[in-house]
Symmetry: C2
Subunit: 405 residues, 2 copies
């Protein structure tokens, strides 16, 4: 199964091209998956695979032993190198699997200083990813620390094994021909995106317990989902798994209140029971039952951190949602529920965006930030309507399920 996940990551996720370099970021514990991916990448003709391993223990050592004045430091030199790699055409694969609450007991101010410093230096590389200039994907690997959080009542080895099974299933690789099944799944997502692109709604209206939120869409927004063509011409699947169709909200046109439907894990901390009010696109009131201080620091990161950069629709019947597993990891949880994202918009979710700078895109409503944080708001009780420019209301989802064909 590990080999199959490696093959699907390379063929479906990245669709790596002969002669293309590949840059992998991965937790140390995921070396066995990295090796499968590396083999498949070389078989597919990759000219060089470079892996950057991260180590939760080393990250924690910084908080335990590092001097306080050093927490604004980031590896700018490495960010510059990676940006050059992507500019020269390297593909990017990220493996997620770190401890979702690694820094739960650490000083939130240090966490946010370190995260901010990293975001600033990583911005040019992230821009290449959010602009979809190169083919990229994210897959997951089961690790002890993560598995403990997902299956707290199991022994470590059982938890790791259960989490692997959940990843394999959610990643749609347990059937007879995963590459073919992914092709069929992509066709479904493309059909949904095409419907929404034809409709050109002015706004989406979300209702549910505690939620009454109108999300205006950006001028010339574009719905995406499933496999897409990157700026380098390569058709790839940026997330494995992916169940969403998504587009760019208007940064100034979000109104109402909304509550989170799943906990959010960000900056290695837990934020739960979030409720916020939007006025003129901006969060003007917020509350969280857990992690309110972390959320407050996130919202204070920059001007764009209080505004939306993405809105995504996911049916409640998605396999991940049906599995009943709360993965405590955005890659999975965002594909179990409709969601919004604070921060940076994807320029690939804007029509005719080529050559436009941030200012031009912002004028059409696309948000700008060093962050991009997905945040789940959908459930089996969520209704979604599309609002047209001539005042019509079209039912899109009822009780979390699509009601369009």
């Amino acid at each position: 199964m590990l080999d199959r996940l490696g093959e699907v990551a390379v063929r479906t996720g990245l669709n790596i091209k002969p002669g293309q370099q590949l840059i992998i970021t991965a937790p140390l514990e995921s070396a066995s998956l990295v090796r499968r991916i590396t083999e498949h990448a070389y078989k597919a003709g990759s000219s060089l695979v470079t892996t950057f391993y991260s180590d939760d223990e080393a990250t924690l050592a910084r908080y335990r032993y590092g001097h306080d004045e050093t927490f604004d430091t980031a590896a700018g030199w490495l960010a510059h190198g990676m940006t050059e790699g992507f500019r020269e055409g390297a593909a990017r694969l990220a493996i997620t699997g770190s401890d979702p609450v690694l820094l739960a007991d650490q000083d939130p101010s240090r966490i946010s200083r370190a995260a901010r410093a990293a975001s600033v230096v990583n911005r040019p590389a992230m821009k290449i990813i959010t602009s979809f200039d190169v083919n990229w994907t994210i897959v997951a690997a089961s690790t002890v620390a993560w598995a403990r959080q997902v299956f707290p009542f199991l022994q470590d080895d059982e938890a790791v094994s259960e989490l692997w099974q959940a990843i394999f299933k959610a990643s749609r690789i347990t059937g007879g021909d995963p590459v073919a099944e992914w092709a069929a799944h992509n066709t479904q997502l493309h059909k949904r995106a095409a419907f929404l692109n034809d409709a050109r709604y002015e706004a989406l209206h979300f209702t549910g317990p505690g939620t009454d939120l109108t999300v205006g869409l950006a001028d010339g927004h574009h719905w995406a989902g499933g496999a897409e063509k990157a700026g380098n011409g390569v058709i790839c699947n940026p997330n494995l798994p992916t169940e969403e169709v998504f587009t760019t909200p208007h940064r100034l046109k979000v109104e109402g209140h909304v509550v989170s439907s799943k906990p959010l894990f960000n900056q290695s901390s837990l934020i739960d029971g979030i409720s916020v009010r939007f006025e003129g696109g901006k969060i003007t009131e917020m509350h969280a039952v857990k992690g309110q201080d972390v959320l407050a620091r996130i919202l204070d990161t920059d001007e764009g951190a209080r505004r939306l950069g993405e809105v995504a629709l996911v049916p409640h019947s998605s396999p991940i949602s049906q599995s009943g597993v709360l993965f405590k990891n955005t890659l999975f949880d965002e594909n179990a529920a409709s969601h919004i994202a604070l921060g940076q918009a994807y320029s690939k979710c804007m029509r005719d965006a080529e050559g436009l700078d941030d200012t031009a895109l912002a004028a059409r409503g696309a948000n700008n930030s060093i962050l991009h944080i997905d945040w789940m708001i959908g459930s089996g009780e969520t209704d979604v309507d599309g609002l047209t420019s001539d005042g019509q209301r079209v039912k899109l989802m009822r009780k979390g399920e699509w009601v369009i064909s």
Copy 2:
């Protein structure tokens, strides 16, 4: 002991400064040592520790599955990033421990193409290291593949454990106060280097079974050894262990013939039973019992690959030599025997070299190459004399031991 090695690496090897970033390169299997080093670096005030893990399995996958036309590719973008990191003052720590014969069964032409491509892009970073602009060090970690080569008749876990013990002992950390013992050892090495610097020999003359070699020294050569002050003002120990005093030979003034006293492991291949003839500083004849094709490709890398960039004196009674262990790793084996190095000279081994470019240094005899490969020629039967400019001959070593006070 692992923690002690980590502490000595940070305090004696690097002497890392508060606010200084640290870049580590390490085999995947050495994560436990990397974590100890990371902790001690943060305790000492390092502002950020970034580790690049290498994985023998991934390297091998390239040779097994990679397409032939891709072997001239290197990660130039990463080399540029690391160079920037060093230019901005980051310290560098390398952990050695990869399989010494990982690529023994692979196509030598591919190995040399890949090594050459990597050397070319890494040259600016290597220049910073060979010019000793920043504090850096190398330490070792025991790994299964390496331990198997050193102790082929032991079980894997026993071999790994034996190799760790040998590393701890050779690295002089098994006594009561390793940091103090290193200080005393450094004083000894400084005394030897001072003697040789005062003497200003014109050449060294090596004799022994199969060897009669005169190594002219560069004009204004400088003997170094033990702890030294880097260009950034930090006093560090570039190798742990280190038993050598070394200087720059004259690239045009090496005459005679020499045989190797230990096998050479380079480009993950074994080269053994080397004998070569030098004329006018250049290797004009060469033979190797094993790995002659690999050696031939090394010598053809560039003009400077056939000339010497370093000559080093190590007594046969060094602890590493006395341990009787053939480590099959340059960091250790070069500290068990006097040696010469093909390729790039160290500008720190030239007096008044600051601000001089390659051409100016070459005019004084310092060699230039993208390679630097140490090669053992000393043994318990080696005699070394110093030749002065006025024709005197001074006995330096007899039967491999120092005979100067």
